[in-house]
C-alpha cells in the first residue's frame, strides 16, 4: 500500500491528465495509456496495471477523471469479476495475457458457472474438463450465461475429478469462446430481453496454461469471484453517463458502451428504479395520498438504509478489514429494495400497470421495472442462499445437513 496523501494523489493525477488526456485519441490508445500508467485501476497492484492505492484514494482519482471528463478503463459486464479473480489466483502469465485487454475493452468476458443441474448448488457442476496432452477438453452445458453472445472469454467452472468429493473435484479455467466447440444460443427472458444464453461445449479446448489456480482448486477460486459479485462489482458501474461532450474518443466510447451494455439496458429497472419514485408520485398526484406517502417513505427509508449499510461496509474495509460476507447482506437488501420499488411503482401508477411497451408510462420503463425485478433475488445467488451464508458465516449457526458427501460419482444428481 502506498502512503501518499490525498493532496499528493490529486496533484499527481491532475498533472498526468493534463499531460496525457486528449479526447481526440482513439479509445484503445487512451485505455492502453491508462493500463500502462496504472491510473485506470488505481486500486490494483503496481505490478499489474494499478498504482496500489487504497480505495479512498482511488475515489480521488475517479473525481479528477470526472472533473476533466476523461474516459475511464473499461468496466462493463463481468470483466472486473474475472480480473479480480485473476489478480488473486491467476499466474503471472495469465495476468499479462488477460488483464490489459480487460481494461482496454478489447475483450469481453462472461461467467460459465450455472448449469441446468446446478445453480444454487454451484459445486454440483457436471460440465467436464479432461486433460489431453496440452489441452483441457471441455464437454457439457452452461446456462443463464449473461453476455455469452458477444464474449471473447469465459471464466469456467468444470469438473476434473469425479472420484473426489463434490467441492474438491472442480477446477477453474479461462475459456476462449471463439472456437468451434462452443455453441451459444440466446434465451429469451420473461421481460422480453435476451441477455442470457445457454452454451454447449463439445470437445472445446482450453490450453493447459489457462487453468486458474491448481487442479481441484476450482471451488476456492470461484468463491473469490462470487464475493466480488455480491459486493456489486458488476455491469451497473458501467452504465452510460449523461451528457455528450465532443471528441472522437467519446463517440467510440459510446459505441463500445452501447454494445457492451446491450444485455444490461434493463438492469437499472431490475433494481427497481427508486430514483423515479418521487417524480412519478408528483407527476401522477399520488404524492397527495396519505397511504401512498407512507409507502413511499418506507421505501425511501429502506433504500437509504441499504445505501448507508454498503457505505459502512466499504468504510470498514478501508480500515483494513477483509472482504467478508457483508456482501450477502447488501445483496439481500437490494432484493428488498427492488421488490418494494415494484410495489410502490404499482401504487403510484395504478391501472396503467396493465399496460406495457410504449403504452406504459415513461416509454415502458415502468412496465419493464415490474417484469424485471424478479431477477434480482435469483441472479448472482438467490436470496435463500444469501440467508444461508449470513446465518452460517456471520451468525455461526449450524450448517445445512449434507446429503452430497463422498465421491461425487455417487452423489445424487439433478
Amino acid at each position: 500500500m502506498s502512503n501518499l496523501s490525498e493532496a499528493e494523489v490529486r496533484a499527481e493525477v491532475r498533472e498526468w491528465l493534463a499531460a496525457n488526456w486528449d479526447p481526440d485519441m482513439s479509445l484503445v490508445e487512451w485505455r492502453s495509456k491508462l493500463a500502462d500508467s496504472g491510473w485506470g485501476m488505481p486500486q490494483w497492484p503496481k505490478e499489474w496495471y494499478g498504482r496500489g492505492l487504497p480505495h479512498a484514494l482511488a475515489r480521488v482519482v475517479e473525481e479528477e477523471f470526472a472533473n476533466v471528463g476523461a474516459v475511464r478503463a473499461a468496466s462493463s459486464g463481468v470483466r472486473l469479476l474475472a480480473a479480480a479473480t485473476l489478480l488473486e489466483h491467476g499466474s503471472d502469465q495469465q495476468k499479462k495475457k488477460f488483464l490489459r485487454r480487460i481494461l482496454t475493452g478489447e475483450d469481453t468476458w462472461c461467467q460459465f458457472f450455472s448449469e441446468p443441474g446446478s445453480g444454487s448448488d454451484l459445486a454440483g457442476a457436471t460440465t467436464r474438463a479432461d486433460l489431453k496432452g496440452d489441452f483441457w477438453i471441455v464437454n457439457g452445458q452452461k446456462v443463464w450465461t449473461t453476455s455469452a453472445h458477444h464474449a471473447d472469454h469465459g471464466i469456467l467452472l468444470a469438473r476434473t475429478d469425479w472420484d473426489a468429493p463434490k467441492h474438491e473435484g472442480l477446477s477453474y479455467f479461462v475459456i476462449n469462446l471463439k472456437q468451434p466447440g462452443v455453441d451459444v444460443q440466446p434465451l429469451k427472458q420473461m421481460n422480453g430481453h435476451a441477455s442470457f444464453n445457454q452454451v454447449f461445449f463439445t470437445d472445446a479446448k482450453v490450453p493447459k496454461e489457462n487453468l486458474v489456480g491448481r487442479v481441484g482448486d476450482g471451488w476456492k477460486v470461484a468463491m473469490t469471484t462470487l464475493a466480488h459479485e455480491r459486493r456489486g462489482v458488476d455491469a451497473m458501474s458501467a452504465l452510460p453517463r449523461s451528457g455528450s461532450p465532443k471528441g472522437r474518443i467519446y463517440l467510440e466510447e459510446r459505441a463500445e458502451t452501447e454494445k457492451a451494455n446491450q444485455p444490461y439496458t434493463w438492469y437499472p429497472q431490475r433494481a427497481g428504479r427508486v430514483d423515479l419514485i418521487i417524480d412519478r408520485a408528483k407527476e401522477t398526484g399520488a404524492n397527495k395520498d396519505p397511504y401512498v406517502r407512507q409507502e413511499i417513505a418506507k421505501l425511501m427509508t429502506l433504500a437509504k438504509c441499504a445505501e448507508w449499510t454498503s457505505r459502512r461496509a466499504r468504510a470498514a474495509q478501508q480500515q483494513g478489514r477483509p472482504q467478508g460476507p457483508e456482501g450477502s447482506l447488501g445483496k439481500l437488501a437490494g432484493s428488498h429494495v427492488a421488490r418494494a420499488c415494484a410495489r410502490v411503482h404499482t401504487l403510484i401508477t395504478g391501472t396503467d400497470v396493465m399496460l406495457t411497451g410504449r403504452e406504459s408510462p415513461r416509454e415502458g420503463i415502468i412496465a419493464e421495472i415490474l417484469v424485471s425485478v424478479p431477477a434480482v433475488s435469483i441472479a448472482g445467488g438467490t436470496d435463500e442462499i444469501q440467508r444461508n451464508i449470513i446465518a452460517e458465516r456471520v451468525l455461526e449457526l449450524p450448517k445445512e445437513p449434507r446429503f452430497d458427501t463422498g465421491p461425487f460419482r455417487n452423489v445424487r444428481k439433478n
Binding site: I278, A281, K282, N287, P290, R293, Q294, I296, A297, K298, M300, T301, L302, K304, C305, A306, W308, T309, R311, R312, R314, A315, A316, Q318, Q319, L329, L332, A333, H336, E384, Q386, R387, N388, I390, A391, E392, V394, L395, L397, P398, E400, P401
Partner: protein, 390 residues
C-alpha cells in the same frame, strides 16, 4: 405537523461511515461499565422501585465516565463531544437497558437548554447537569399523547417577574424524579407553532403536582404533571423560541433511534444464542432453516436500522441541513425494527419467551414504548415526506 421544509436529497459528502478508534474505545469503556452495573437482576430490582434507578450507579456514571455531559461543551462543564458520542452512549444504554434518568436529563433537558438557552442560562444550568448532580427533564406531550408541538395547550401567562404555567403535561420521562422541569407552553390565545416557547421551573415549586404513571415499560418511568399557576422562567428568548423545540425533539429522536438499535442488537444476540442451545427434534433449533433464515433477516434489519441511526447522528453532528429529515427517518426505521426483532426473539424462545422470568419481555416492552415515544413511525414518515418536500 408543520415544520420548515427542506428538499435536500443529496447526501453531504464528508460524512463518516466508520467510528474513530477513540470513539470505539469510548464505546468499549461504556459497555464494560454497563455490563458490570446493569445485569438483568439489577434491571428487575430497579424497575420494581418507584424511584427507578440506583443513585450510586448514576453518580459513578457521572463522575467516572462523565456521561451526562458528554455532548455538553467544556465551557459549560461538559466533556465537549457531540451527537455521535451521545448516540454511542444511548446505543449502549439501550443494549444494556440501564435503569437511569439519562434520556431525560442528558438527551432531552440538556439538548433543550443547549438549543434554547441564553449564554447566562447555559452557564447556570448545564454544569450541574453535566456533573449529574441535578436531574432534569423536558415536558412536551400532554394527556392526548400528541408529539406535534402545534398541539400544545399548556399556557404560559406573563406575570410580574416571569410566567405562570397552567395545564397538564403527561408522558414526561423521569418526571417523578427530575429536579428541573423544562416545559413547552404557549402564549395565551395563540395556535399552531406561534407563541410556543420553553420554560424552566423547579419541580418542587408551588402549583406543580406530579404523579408517577403506571408505565408498560417499567425501566422507563413516566409521569403526569399538573400545573396550576406554577411560576416559571422563559428559557431563551421569544424571538427564536420555536426552532429550539423542534431541534430538541429531532436530536432526541436520533438519540432514541440509536438506543433502539442497541436494544435490537441485544434481542438479536439473545435469539442467536438461544437458538444454538435449545434442542428439539434431536437438533438445535438454530439448525432449522426456518430459524436460520429468520435470524439472517433479523440481522439485516438491525444493520439497516443501525445505518440510519449512525448516519443521522453523523449528519446531526455536522449540523448539515438534511439532519432533521434524517432524524425522522431514523426514528421510524429503528422503531419498527426494534419491535420486530424483539417480537421475533420471543418467537424463537417458544413458550419460555412468554414468561415473566425470561428477560426478553424487558426489551420487548422498551421496544413497544419507544415505538410511540417521540412519535409513531407513521408520524415520522409523514414528517420525512414534508421535510423532503414531497
Amino acid at each position: 405537523m408543520s415544520t420548515p421544509q427542506q428538499s435536500t436529497f443529496v447526501s453531504p459528502r464528508r460524512i463518516q461511515f466508520a467510528f474513530t478508534d477513540e470513539q470505539e474505545q469510548f464505546r468499549s469503556a461504556v459497555r464494560r461499565f454497563l455490563n458490570d452495573k446493569s445485569p438483568t437482576t439489577e434491571i428487575r430490582r430497579l424497575m420494581a422501585t418507584a424511584q427507578g434507578y440506583d443513585p450510586a450507579v448514576w453518580r459513578q456514571l457521572s463522575e467516572d465516565l462523565a456521561l451526562p455531559g458528554i455532548h455538553i461543551p467544556e465551557q459549560y462543564g461538559g466533556a465537549g463531544f457531540g451527537m455521535v458520542e451521545l448516540c454511542i452512549v444511548t446505543e449502549e444504554l439501550g443494549r444494556a437497558l440501564l435503569c437511569a434518568p439519562y434520556f431525560s436529563t442528558a438527551v432531552l433537558a440538556a439538548n433543550a437548554i443547549l438549543s434554547a438557552g441564553t449564554e447566562e442560562q447555559k452557564s447556570a444550568l448545564l454544569p450541574e447537569i453535566a456533573k449529574g448532580t441535578r436531574l432534569a427533564t423536558l415536558a412536551i406531550t400532554e394527556p392526548d399523547g400528541n408529539w406535534d408541538p402545534t398541539g400544545i395547550k399548556v399556557v404560559a401567562t406573563p406575570d410580574s417577574d416571569g410566567y405562570r404555567l397552567d395545564g397538564v403535561k403527561s408522558f414526561v420521562v423521569d418526571g417523578h424524579v427530575a429536579e428541573l422541569l423544562i416545559v413547552a407552553a404557549r402564549a395565551p390565545k395563540t395556535t399552531g407553532l406561534k407563541g410556543l416557547a420553553l420554560f424552566t421551573l423547579d419541580a418542587n415549586a408551588g402549583g406543580v403536582e406530579r404523579r408517577l404513571l403506571e408505565s408498560m415499560d417499567p425501566t422507563r418511568k413516566i409521569a403526569r404533571i399538573d400545573f396550576r399557576g406554577a411560576h416559571a422562567k422563559l428559557l431563551g428568548d421569544l424571538d427564536n423560541s420555536v426552532e429550539p423545540i423542534l431541534r430538541t425533539l429531532d436530536r432526541a429522536a436520533i438519540a432514541l433511534a440509536n438506543e433502539m438499535v442497541g436494544g435490537a442488537q441485544t434481542m438479536l444476540d439473545t435469539a442467536v444464542s438461544y437458538s444454538k442451545l435449545r434442542v428439539q427434534f434431536g437438533r438445535t433449533i438454530g439448525s432449522f432453516q426456518a430459524i436460520k433464515h429468520k435470524l439472517a433477516d433479523m440481522l439485516l434489519d438491525v444493520e439497516l436500522a443501525r445505518s440510519a441511526a449512525y448516519y443521522a447522528a453523523q449528519v446531526a453532528a455536522a449540523d448539515d441541513s438534511e439532519w432533521p429529515a434524517l432524524a425522522s427517518l431514523a426514528k421510524a426505521a429503528a422503531s419498527e425494527t426494534y419491535l420486530h426483532i424483539a417480537a421475533e426473539c420471543i418467537q424463537i424462545h417458544g413458550g419460555i419467551g412468554f414468561t415473566w422470568d425470561n428477560d426478553t419481555h424487558l426489551w420487548f416492552k422498551r421496544a413497544k414504548s419507544s415505538e410511540v415515544f417521540l412519535g409513531q413511525p407513521s408520524y415520522h414518515r409523514e414528517l420525512l415526506m414534508q421535510r423532503w418536500g414531497v
